[in-house]
């Protein structure tokens, strides 16, 4: 998927969970879900469920552990989409 379009989609997905508006506004590939967006760690599983629904993919436990930033999420989504 095209990079900017993917970032835009991820941005919509994480919006309900973020607790740092400024970091959210300037969200980029390098944004960290917990450190920058201050997403409650318990909500990370909800972000992943929403990613699964939006892209119609399934994310396994090992991938889940890695999915802590926009970049990591993009890599995993692209990999799963390619494998479809």
């Amino acid at each position: 998927m095209e990079k900017q379009a993917l970032i835009a989609k991820l941005k919509t997905i994480v919006e309900p969970y973020i607790q740092d508006e400024d970091a959210f506004k300037s969200l980029s590939e390098n944004t960290d879900f917990v450190k920058d967006l201050k997403i409650n760690s318990a909500n990370l599983v909800d972000v992943i469920l929403d990613v699964e629904d939006v892209f119609d993919i399934r994310i396994e436990n090992v991938d889940m552990e890695k999915m802590l930033s926009v970049k990591a999420a993009m890599d995993i989504v692209n990999e799963k989409l390619a494998a479809k």
Partner: protein
């Protein structure tokens, strides 16, 4: 030193009124909150009526963040948080996620089952091998202490934060537990109360036991008939009630509005011995609990102006009246006024004790006795014990100084608490 305990804030989410002013107005007028529920009919329930508080989507957003409402499906926590936050604000404290942590304030907020709809959702997912799809919200909404955990975080409570559970005694028990904690100096303020989920998954078991009325599906507002000769079972209800209990010193220091004083109370159990069973009360224990509450409050039974009974509209109502006459040594015209809120809201189960206590305290604050509805035909076994004029069917505006409230629950458990008007 024993601290005196007063009530400085209240909140209520009841089938006939959400918020103190709406609720006060409703109980004075005898407004029923019982309605027909097609979903119960569709599920082949015998009793298709019940009391469900009306909370709009918009109102939820005044209490919960959009994030908290994602995947939210727990009516009890919804009602409990609204009542609890309202009580806290009514007492003059902030509702602000940035408010300072207060180690002198805690909560004891009871429930029976938490988030039963959420639990159902989770079970369906698990059974279809979708455990991974539960998300983060299942535990928080289905743990029994969900309501106190939500409230603790919303209000920044740093003292004890817990949930009690003792069937239909729960709400009254929470008040007494919070009272004890302040009286002994372990806390300055305790938000106490209780809530109950609504709907078929909570009420189904009672329907199966045939303890709910099935004769009023066409006349829901007449369905809940405490003390009536034509009562034939309770009507299920739900909601939440909350009270801020505070040491008198703290309340005076803050110049808080004082609704009433909690003089004392008692909790006991009949141990399912004698005539006591899992579902029937041991009479000696009921009488003992009421007597102990009077003793602990340092008053005489003659000083009691009004009783708010448990009185569910089952065959146990006349037994309850008999127990009151024994415990107070008062009968006939000498008996205090007595009323049951259940005629208007049904039996709100674990929320009953707290919603009914809020109603009782409002009577002291505003000097009235709310009417009993649906008991124009008082049960002869009751009118042979107490004068009918003591069972008001219309609003009575009169001097009320001391009110006693009792709740009894499955498991043969009893709770009784005594409130008094506070004069500065």
């Amino acid at each position: 030193m024993k601290h005196r305990v007063v009530i400085t804030g209240m909140g209520v989410v009841a089938p006939n009124g959400v918020g103190l002013s709406e609720f006060t107005n409703a109980i004075k007028k005898g407004v029923s909150g019982i309605t027909y529920h097609q979903n119960l009919k569709d599920l082949d329930f015998s009793c298709c009526i019940g009391g469900v508080p009306q909370v709009s989507e918009e109102k939820r957003l005044h209490y919960f963040t959009p994030l908290q409402l994602r995947g939210f499906n727990s009516s009890g926590i919804l009602y409990g948080c609204i009542a609890g936050i309202d009580a806290w604000k009514d007492a003059g404290f902030p509702f602000d996620s940035e408010s300072e942590l207060d180690y002198n304030s805690g909560t004891i907020f009871g429930t029976g089952t938490s988030g039963i709809e959420k639990f159902r959702e989770a079970i369906y997912k698990i059974d279809t091998k979708q455990v991974k799809r539960l998300g983060s919200t299942a535990v928080l909404q289905t743990m029994a202490s969900g309501v106190s955990a939500f409230l603790g975080g919303m209000l920044g409570l740093g003292n004890q934060v817990t949930t009690n559970s003792s069937a239909c005694t729960t709400g009254t028990e929470a008040i007494i537990l919070g009272f004890d904690r302040i009286q002994s100096g372990k806390a300055k303020r305790m938000l106490v109360g209780s809530c109950s989920d609504d709907g078929p998954y909570i009420w189904g078991g009672f329907d199966a036991m045939r303890v709910m009325t099935y004769k009023h599906n066409e006349t829901p507002k007449q369905g809940s008939r405490p003390m009536s000769a034509t009562a034939d079972g309770f009507v299920p209800g739900s909601g939440a009630g909350a009270l801020v209990l505070e040491s008198l010193e703290s309340a005076l220091e803050r110049k808080a509005t004082i609704y009433a004083e909690v003089l004392g109370g008692a909790l006991n159990s009949g141990g399912q011995r004698g005539e006591g069973t899992m579902t029937a009360p041991n009479e000696e224990a009921v009488v003992g609990c009421i007597k102990k509450a009077i003793e602990n409050s340092g008053i005489s039974a003659d000083a009691i102006d009004t009783i708010n009974g448990h009185l569910t509209a089952t065959s146990k109502d006349s037994l309850e009246i008999k127990n009151w006459t024994k415990a107070l040594h008062r009968k006939g015209v000498d008996f205090p006024y007595i009323n049951s809120l259940k005629g208007m809201v049904g039996h709100c189960l674990t929320a009953a004790g707290s919603i009914e206590s809020v109603a009782t305290v409002l009577q002291l604050k505003e000097q009235f006795i709310f009417p009993n509805i649906n008991c124009e035909d008082v049960l002869p076994e009751i009118s042979s014990l107490i004068s009918e004029e003591k069972i008001p069917k219309k609003l009575v505006e009169t001097k009320v100084t001391i009110a006693i409230k009792a709740s009894f629950g499955f498991g043969d458990v009893n709770g009784c608490v005594i409130f008094k008007t506070y004069l500065a």
